[in-house]
């Protein structure tokens, strides 16, 4: 790219400064042989990377500061139209959607360099479809967590037991499974508190190990920070995807109208939004790692 854009700078400089796609003032020498817009997009992405890194590091610090933390394969296990416990399968699908839309974006940029307007519009359209699918998937995930499992930024019904024990009935007797065995739990087991007529149904537990062995306690909510971090971080990422889809749409319409063809700079605008779009995928790699894999 560097070579071609410099070449364009030379042949367009004389007649139209605005359309040369370089827009650096002050002479022929171009810093890093890159156009102003592209370089600034990179530096914007660098600053955005720090924002996301700050969020994800906060997740790590808060997770380390809390005695228990809900396990991702327990929390993220729902799948649309299927009433089953399929751990991590839906987020894997979401990851694939983003990878596909990244790949179609690369194709759009390549067609742009060949000045192939139809190709640019076609591949950008597929990219937008990918982005919209991802947003829809995220809407499903959020809806399940909020409406079905009652997680909010300040209430997290996903907890983990800190010791072995058994569940108790309301009258204080030991709860039994259907086959008559005691309803027991082990240290580290995940649980979800359910709502009953709009109120959380908090079961009583009797611990059989650990520092509270023999005592009867109420089940507790999971660490609050989990819900807050989940909604803030995936929400911030989803906001990036959403604004990416908006910009992709605008740029696709511009490309279809012939605006970038007239600039004869290899569809540099498509390349710049491409950088942003790949960055959104890049951030998802780490959100996926931190929230769902570790």
């Amino acid at each position: 790219m560097a070579d071609t854009s410099v070449a364009h700078a030379h042949d367009t400089h004389a007649h139209d400064h605005q359309e040369d796609g370089i827009n650096w003032e002050g002479g022929e020498k171009v810093p890093f042989k890159a156009s102003y817009g592209k370089l600034m997009m990179w530096y914007f992405l660098l600053s955005d990377a720090f924002t996301f890194a700050g969020f994800l590091i906060a997740y790590g610090a808060l997770r380390f500061s809390t005695p228990t933390w809900p396990e991702a394969d327990f929390v993220f296990a729902s799948f649309p139209f299927v009433n089953a416990h399929w751990p991590l399968i839906f987020v894997t699908f979401m990851t694939f959607v983003l990878i596909f839309s990244s790949v179609t974006m690369v194709r759009a940029v390549q067609e742009g360099h060949r000045e192939n307007q139809r190709g640019v519009v076609f591949w950008m359209f597929l990219t937008i479809l990918g982005g919209a699918t991802f947003l829809g998937s995220q809407a499903y995930e959020w809806t399940t967590l909020i409406a079905k499992e009652h997680m909010t930024v300040s209430v997290n019904p996903f907890g983990r037991h800190t010791a072995d024990g058994v569940y108790l009935n309301a009258d204080g007797s030991e709860a039994k499974n259907e086959d008559g065995t005691p309803k027991a739990f082990a240290k580290g087991d995940n649980y979800l508190l359910h709502k009953h007529n709009g109120e959380f149904d908090i079961p009583k537990l009797k611990y059989t190990s650990g520092q509270h062995a023999g005592q009867v306690k109420d089940a507790t909510f999971g660490p609050k920070a989990f819900g807050a971090l989940f909604f803030f971080i995936t929400g911030f990422h989803g906001f990036h995807v959403f604004s990416g889809v908006l910009f992709l749409t605008i740029i696709m319409i511009n490309a279809a109208s012939g605006l970038y063809a007239a600039r004869r700079n290899g569809y540099e605008m498509v390349e710049k939004i491409g950088l942003y779009w790949h960055f959104v995928d890049l951030v998802w790699v780490f959100v996926f790692l931190v929230f769902y894999l570790l």
Binding site: M1, K33, L46, F64, S65, T66, T95
Partner: protein
């Protein structure tokens, strides 16, 4: 992009990227499900050495995916070296951020009980007498 590549080579790179990223993601998820005990009954790596190995593997895979996206999808591999360094070097600051904040979080976690006790502690004076004394303003010791 990248003047030294033909159009066919570029398209091949895109296809390779799709396969590579897809394959790594599938491996990641399969390993995650195995490590969390969903695939083989009785096998899980959620504690001790196996867990560290698992986390290291996942971080390694993710960093490789990030490298591929930055260098080939975002074409950093074909940019001027100085530009690459100006973007990538600042991110090394995050290494210290990770060390410092994780240390902070662990330390907070280790002291939770102490912090709770200190918060609930009621401090009582040792005797009924005032500790220390107050003088009327006129009797304040003055210098000189």
């Amino acid at each position: 992009m990248a003047g030294h590549q033909t159009y066919e080579e570029q398209k091949a790179l895109v296809f390779r990227g799709l396969l590579l990223l897809g394959a790594i993601t599938i491996v990641e998820v399969v390993v995650a499900l195995l490590a969390k005990g969903h695939l083989v009954h009785g096998i899980r790596f959620t504690e001790g050495f196996g867990h560290y190995l698992y986390m290291l593997l996942m971080i390694g895979f993710s960093l490789y995916k990030a490298y591929f996206i930055i260098f080939y999808f975002m074409h950093m591999a074909y940019e001027v070296r100085g530009m690459m360094l100006s973007v990538l070097l600042p991110t090394t600051l995050l290494i210290w951020a990770i060390i410092a904040f994780f240390q902070e979080g662990s330390s907070w976690g280790a002291r939770r009980e102490l912090i709770r006790e200190k918060n609930e502690e009621v401090v009582k004076p040792k005797t009924g007498q005032p500790q220390g004394y107050l003088l009327p303003a006129a009797e304040w010791p003055r210098k000189g």
